[in-house]
Point group: C2
Chain length 218, copies 2
């Protein structure tokens, strides 16, 4: 099927062009007209290959998550130290990726879908695969599946908060050493808490009570 | 000095108008022309009263930080529980503020100054005052000044990360209970780690080593 083959090649090529634009100039520079020009096809072809620019952006961002996944998997396979050391290595790899690929990394968090659209299932599954690398590390200290998922996401979001506040210079000039110290403090605290007081299936006895109440009206 | 008085009133009034626009419609809706129209003055007057829109935005954001400060100070003065309870109450107050004032809260983090401009000292001092509320809580478990500052900022950024990832729906639909559980997990872990292993002046013996290395070239 030469047609299918041609279409696949064109799709891979336009994705590469889009990736390069996002990596070099950020999400704001990504326009169908420009991709078409640089890939040597028509604007109509872009919309034929992709379900709009959103679809293309999600695929570019997915590539950035893949780079992160490759880094984390590598660390996971070579890990020998304590839980704190393993999680710290992963968190610092995240800081490094954000630093090395700042524009592509920002695109993952800047991109907001229109309110009537939803993130495709395959992207959510891709994210879940990433988190499963962290969850695997937590398996011995968080026995409950839901709690383990919560803990992995909390750790990720906490580290992400430290990295993004630092790179956005929200609390002063970016300081690599200070950022690294903050990441270590949060990750090592959490690991220490988990090792000393593992989270059991019965969350209410774990010390990290997942008891929740509705938001109040304040 | 009636002129000075008039100027002050106009300045307060334009700030109120700007606040209302940011709170209701977000940073993107803030334009000098619109503020002038709603405050009943000329566009030139806006630029006479403020050092550009950036100055005005920083003052609006400063008001949002003041609201947070008032909440945290109230919690600080009425606090009786453990460090974990105190810090958790503050973190959940932050989640609540972000939820209740989502547009104004976003403006604090969305606003980026032009590269040739710097955030004014008074704004940084304002931020430092906010952090001092958290630092006060940590005084007994983090004796070193620099370490205490680091820990307060790490805790804030970690909680902010969880809140913003959740509100931006980056990992799925916003779920209040799940977000609250994540916030509690991170804050209670850190508090637990600090109570059991206080951070001394000599950071290298604290278990939360602030030892740092330069970013590698990977």
């Amino acid at each position: 099927m030469p047609d299918r083959n041609y279409r696949n090649k064109l799709k891979a090529n336009t994705l590469l062009v889009a990736k390069r634009i996002v990596e070099n100039e950020g999400l704001g520079a990504l326009q169908a007209r420009r991709i078409a020009q640089e890939a040597g096809c028509s604007v109509g072809t872009i919309y034929n290959l992709y379900d709009g620019l959103d679809d293309l952006i999600i695929r570019v961002n997915s590539g950035t998550l893949e780079d992160l996944g490759a880094k984390l998997s590598g660390l996971e396979q070579s890990a020998t130290g304590s839980l704190a050391d393993n999680l710290t290595a992963m968190a610092l790899a995240y800081l490094q990726l954000a630093l090395d690929s700042q524009t592509a990394w920002r695109a993952v968090f800047e991109h907001q879908l229109a309110k009537d659209k939803t993130v495709p299932d395959w992207y959510r599954e891709h994210q879940a695969t990433l988190f499963s690398i962290v969850e695997k590390k937590l398996a011995h200290v968080v026995t409950d599946d839901q709690q383990r998922k919560m803990a992995a996401r909390a750790l990720f979001a906490a580290v992400h908060g430290i990295v993004s506040i630092a790179l956005d210079q929200k609390l002063g000039d970016f300081d690599y050493a200070a950022t690294q110290a903050q990441v270590k403090f949060i990750v090592q605290s959490a690991a220490k808490g988990l090792v000393e007081q593992p989270m059991q299936s019965n969350a209410s006895t774990s010390g990290y009570a997942a008891d929740v109440s509705e938001p109040d009206a304040n």
